[in-house]
């Protein structure tokens, strides 16, 4: 049973088509990355998953059932733009959101305290939201989305605007949730950030799905044809016939091979010409490279 299943959904706002023919499925216990440049339809897709908007056509299933509002109590949502009441105290705010998700006030308060401790913002709990820094507000928003222990966590650009320390705190928490068997979907336009985090990804571009699958599947479709060499001395190995394209800087060459199997030969040739090699690495293409390869070069990712 898929936690989320989108079937051929379409959404148009007046004349602009935001999402077109999108289908995807998210399995339990997976970390799912919804990737794509800004304005490609990520937020529109997410909004349809949680009933904020209704698709013009196609179907949405949550927890194996056709979409119903009752299922939303099992979903935690972190919107892209942080939405908190500025004048409310942190703890009141968290209890309020907890209650909206069906918790009673006492449970919500207890869990809020526990989460604030974990997120290292316990001393801010009696403060008004507007007095807090942006990073802290984001943590509160994050807690608000998780307080009711949802089975599906949906986070729209969760890492944007977070400093590295807090971003990694958030990533650790997400990994923890996955370990508990929850399904997590997050969207991001920073593909480099999430490569190691996702089990499965979908890349959308201009409202259409361009790539979908588990990380392993996607990567296996693209051979490890990247070669990184740090060297000094003779450069004649760069003329090897298996090199499709090369970017060279002083002492560094980033190569893309037409025949991945030739990597060892290139190394052998360089050594034969007396080139000093300090680093030699065969690499898989990054998600960003895969993305650019799929949709073309001129993408402002």
């Amino acid at each position: 049973m898929s936690i989320v299943k989108l079937e051929n959904i379409r959404k148009a706002y007046d004349t602009k088509v935001a999402v077109e023919g999108l289908s995807l499925a998210i399995e339990p216990g997976t970390m799912f990355g919804l990737l794509g440049p800004k304005g490609s339809g990520k937020t529109s897709s997410i909004r349809m998953m949680i009933g904020i908007t209704v698709p013009d056509s196609g179907s949405v299933e949550l927890f194996g059932q056709p979409f119903s509002r009752a299922a939303l109590k099992r979903v935690g949502y972190l919107p892209e733009e942080r939405g908190l009441y500025k004048k409310m105290k942190v703890i009141e705010q968290l209890i309020f959101f907890g209650q909206l998700h069906g918790l009673d006030a006492a449970t919500a308060s207890k869990r809020a305290h526990r989460w604030c401790e974990r997120m290292q913002i316990l001393d801010a709990i009696e403060k008004k939201t507007e007095e807090l820094s942006k990073g802290m507000q984001q943590k509160i928003q994050f807690i608000a989305a998780l307080l009711h222990e949802p089975d599906l966590v949906i986070m729209d650009e969760p890492f944007s605007g977070l400093d590295p320390v807090n971003a990694s705190l958030l990533m650790d928490t997400l990994l923890d949730l996955r370990k508990q068997g929850k399904a997590i979907l997050f969207s991001t336009h920073r593909m480099d950030q999430v490569e190691k985090l996702c089990d499965a990804i979908a890349i959308i571009y201009k409202g259409k799905l361009v790539l979908e699958g588990t990380m392993r599947e996607v990567k296996s479709r693209y051979p490890a044809n990247r070669l990184l060499i740090h060297y000094t001395g003779d450069e004649s190995f760069l003329q090897h016939r298996a090199i499709a394209s090369a970017k060279t800087y002083t002492g560094t060459a980033e190569l893309i091979l037409s025949e991945p199997s030739q990597a060892q030969n290139i190394l052998a040739e360089a050594i034969a010409h007396g080139t000093q090699i300090t680093r030699f690495e065969v690499m898989e293409p990054t998600l960003e490279e895969i993305f650019i390869e799929t949709v073309g070069e001129n993408v402002d990712a």
Binding site: R47, I50, I52, K73, P79, F96
Partner: protein, 407 residues
């Protein structure tokens, strides 16, 4: 229903805890009550308490005038009478400068004995109109009495003729009941406007802070809107009940009377209180629904200002028609205006305060208001549902009409 309650509770608590609520709850009745007390106090104190001198060679006239002026019903003046001598004027002017005297009246005999003497008042302050006015009217009375006696009418008869006339108004004083109707009218105008705008502002706040996204991921737009209107409306209702309770306490006990004397009695009938609550609820519902739609359409308070006229115009029309309603509360025009739902809360209520309209008119106004509320809420909730997720440019009319078709 639970969600509506949660939203309403949040709105209510957030507002009721603010200093603004506390201040407006205390200050508005204080200002209104204070204004009332001051006006009645000052009405009581316009009796002149000056110390004046009358300079006249005609001692009878001067003494008569003194008696008239020192009559406690007329003033609290202290009057000296002197005959004119060579030094009188200098002495009086000296007293004026020393501030031991507030003014003096110089009565110079006329050249022709048949004419009136010439009266000249020299006051220390030119602005002391009250004293001068009191002297004038006292003088007129005295001269009239003198003239009447001169024509052979007995002084007892003269006194009878000069008694002040008192018009009795059935069912309490017309002035005070009009005053209370007037105050209630403005109070209604004020709360409907204030809390209607409050709804719009709270929507804009959630829109700019994007709290909506979080709310909408669990509850429906209709639940949010209902909760918001109920929450904000309850704040208004709490405030009104506090005010009415204060007003009832003030008018039913002698607190106000002890401040301002018996003239300050403001009558507030039970019907006035009950209908105030009913019409507030209906009026607030109507105007807050419009405000909610406006709030959902715009992105900032500044943009809301431009659309404010949709709220202010109907209320302004009520304001303008007030004159007609006052002169003839049961006339055709008043009846028609009071049945227009946008004006009903103000005008029908005003009519109720002035002169109870026929029951069928009140019933009809309630039915019309409820029906209009239903329609406006239907439209507003649709605009709201779409509008809250629209950011960026303000929608034009065709776009808004298209929103209505979205379900």
């Amino acid at each position: 229903m639970h969600n509506v309650f949660l939203i309403a509770k949040r709105e209510y608590l957030e507002r009721i805890r603010t200093k603004a609520f506390l201040l407006s709850t205390i200050l508005i009745p204080l200002l209104m009550g204070g204004g009332l007390v001051i006006s009645t106090l000052s009405a009581a104190k316009t009796k002149s308490a000056s110390h004046v001198a009358i300079v006249s060679s005609n001692q009878t006239l001067a003494e008569d005038l003194k008696t008239e002026l020192e009559d406690p019903k007329r003033s609290d003046m202290k009057v000296d009478v002197t005959a004119p001598t060579a030094e009188t004027r200098a002495a009086l002017d000296h007293n004026l400068a020393e501030k031991t005297l507030d003014g003096y009246l110089w009565i110079a005999p006329a050249a022709n004995p048949a004419d009136r003497p010439v009266f000249t008042y020299y006051g220390r302050s030119k602005a002391d109109i009250a004293t001068q006015g009191t002297i004038e009217s006292a003088l007129r009375t005295v001269l009239l009495r003198e003239g009447l006696v001169h024509h052979g009418i007995t002084s007892a008869e003269v006194e009878k003729l000069l008694q002040p006339v008192d018009i009795q108004s059935a069912g309490g004083s017309a002035l005070t009941s009009f005053l209370s109707a007037y105050i209630m009218f403005f109070l209604m105008y004020f709360v409907v406007m204030l809390y209607g705008m409050n709804v719009a502002r709270s929507i804009i706040e959630e829109k700019t802070s994007r709290v909506f996204e979080v709310l909408l991921s669990t509850i429906t737009p209709d639940e949010i809107l209902a909760g918001k209107i109920i929450g904000v409306g309850s704040v208004g209702l709490s405030q009104i009940i506090l005010w009415l309770a204060t007003a009832v306490i003030l008018t039913s006990t002698s607190v106000l009377a002890s401040f301002a004397g018996n003239g300050a009695h403001i009558s507030l009938s039970m019907a006035q209180i009950v209908f105030f609550l009913i019409y507030f609820v209906l009026g607030f519902l109507l105007y807050s629904s419009i405000a909610a739609a406006l709030g959902a359409m715009v992105n900032s308070e500044q943009e809301l200002q431009q659309l404010n006229m949709f709220l202010v115009m109907p209320l302004a029309v009520c304001m303008f028609s007030l004159g007609v309603v006052i002169t003839n509360p049961s006339g055709l025009i008043s009846t028609v205006i009071s049945l227009i739902p946008f004006c009903t809360p103000l005008i029908m209520y005003f009519r109720i305060s002035l002169q109870m309209p026929p029951a069928w008119q009140i019933a009809l106004s309630l039915v019309l208001m409820i029906a209009t509320n239903y329609g406006i809420l239907w439209v507003a909730s649709r605009i709201y549902r779409v509008g809250i997720l629209m950011y960026g440019k303000k929608p034009n009319l065709p776009e808004i009409l298209r929103w209505l078709k979205y379900s």
